[in-house]
Symmetry: C2
Subunit: 299 residues, 2 copies
């Protein structure tokens, strides 16, 4: 059986390669490649494939398409978030961000193209199972757009008063809920019972990100640090302190494992979440004061 | 039977209203409304519904969803095209463009949200017919993204050398081909034979737009004029002259009518294209030198 990471990279690479046709503008095609490959930790598509496998998936192509679609949405959102009018981030994954390497127009178009390409991947598997294909489109759209997806989350940053629950649910948790629910759909199961797992992983991830933003340096992260502070965004470390945030992170992760619905691969999935927990929580209260210089999952 | 325009406005209004939930950020929800309502001429969704009706559509909800999806993509692309890094257009449809009225971040998010909302509309009708739903997703994606959709068209403007055919096919014709093909799919027919009609209407529309860009003033158009010239974009009037462009426009439209595939509503559709032809070609060579001050279909 191919490892999840091999399946993800193969599917992403194939979908990106299809954009390089003689009739396609070369720089935009190149920018798509640059935005997606090589990638970060591929956390969301890995969770998606983990859930699909745990559900006993019968058609790997559907999981591959769903994982690719989800990662395209994530990569596209990073390209747009890095734009000067949002975070104005010059680096991402240790290299110049897309608008710096290509241009702002190409960065806008790269994000747009990745969003569209995501839905195209899902439509491709309709010949295998049109019902699963359509449910994947609906689930991805609802966790990506308005009123409750990552666009809505980013939109909260333009409000005078932020609804913090709505903000975190939409900005970060939404794509993790999409990951678990799309994994269930790809695996032929009902998505409803899988929402809690995604939400809990998403909450843990948000806290871990807040910790990294506070504690690491830019070289280790491959992107600018202190951005929450600079941009006046809410941050769990600011409200709970480092020890409080680490404690909440651990609670979220044990809650995540407890919430896994009963399924053929339940034990495998619990192990997988546990491994992520260890990667996500590298900071203990004792180690916190010194900026740790170790590899952390990049985004 | 409801008029096409009533069906389109009702479906657009309903989809936009669904984005105004208590958990949604209000300014972004308001910007979506602002970008879509009131609209321009709704040419693409009207063509789509015309083709669906001509094909003998049996489920109006599918046509409504397809028309809404296509118009959302069009409106989203206008919001992004107007951004300072592209056309830097301050006005659109006679009012401030979205980034002027709201902000650049909200304009980026409005475009992103409209793209996503488009695909969500198509997923909604999967409960009626999952196969048609998936084909609509595929067709819309292929005419919107990379390598051959409107993103690709816009991407050509960042190339050192432009492939003019690829540029016009992607930038303008693509959404008209999407209109005719999605209409056919919504009407339960094969989309293939409908590509030529869309391509010919798209070519005519491009020439008409070039004529308007050259000949009208900003007040009449509700958006800045002379943009092609300013942005160094190819323009049919520059290469053919006014008389040559008008002649090519007429040829495209008569070719469009001749290309209509045989179907139950063939005569009705031919009449509809003829009416568009009359709206699109208000400029005769004799009238050309004086800027005509009449209402033209806005975008």
């Amino acid at each position: 059986m191919m490892a999840f990471s091999d399946r993800i990279e193969a599917a992403l690479g194939l979908a990106i390669a299809r954009c390089r046709t003689p009739a396609a503008p070369r720089r935009l095609a190149s920018a798509l490649d640059y935005a997606v490959l090589p990638g970060g930790a591929r956390i969301r598509p890995t969770i998606l494939l983990g859930v699909a496998a745990a559900c006993g998936e019968d058609r790997l192509e559907i999981g591959d398409a769903a994982a690719t679609a989800l990662e395209f949405i994530h990569c596209g959102s990073l390209v747009h978030d890095d734009l000067p009018c949002f975070d104005d981030a010059d680096t991402r994954r240790g290299k110049p961000s897309v608008h710096v390497a290509y241009s702002q127009p190409l960065a806008v178009l790269t994000g747009d193209s990745l969003i569209i390409l995501a839905f195209e991947q899902l439509a491709r598997v309709a010949e295998i199972d049109p019902v699963r294909s359509a449910r994947l489109v609906m689930t991805l759209a609802q966790h990506t757009g308005m009123p409750g997806g990552i666009c809505a989350g980013q939109g909260w940053e333009s409000e005078a008063e932020i609804d913090l629950d709505a903000y975190h649910n939409a900005k970060t948790a939404a794509l993790f809920v999409a990951a678990t629910q799309m994994g269930a759909i790809a695996g032929g199961q009902e998505p409803g019972p899988w929402a809690e797992l995604g939400a809990r992983i998403g909450a843990a991830f948000q806290i871990a990100d807040d910790l990294r933003d506070t504690l690491y340096d830019a070289e280790t992260l491959g992107k600018p640090v202190g951005q929450d502070d600079l941009n006046g965004r809410p941050n769990a470390v600011a409200s709970l302190g480092v020890a409080g945030a680490v404690s909440k992170l651990k609670d979220s992760l044990s809650g995540a494992i407890a919430s896994i619905p009963s399924c053929p691969g339940e034990a495998m999935l619990a192990q997988m979440v546990q491994r992520y927990a260890e990667k996500l929580a590298p900071v203990t209260p004792a180690a916190a004061p010194a900026p740790a210089r170790r590899t952390v999952p990049g985004e």
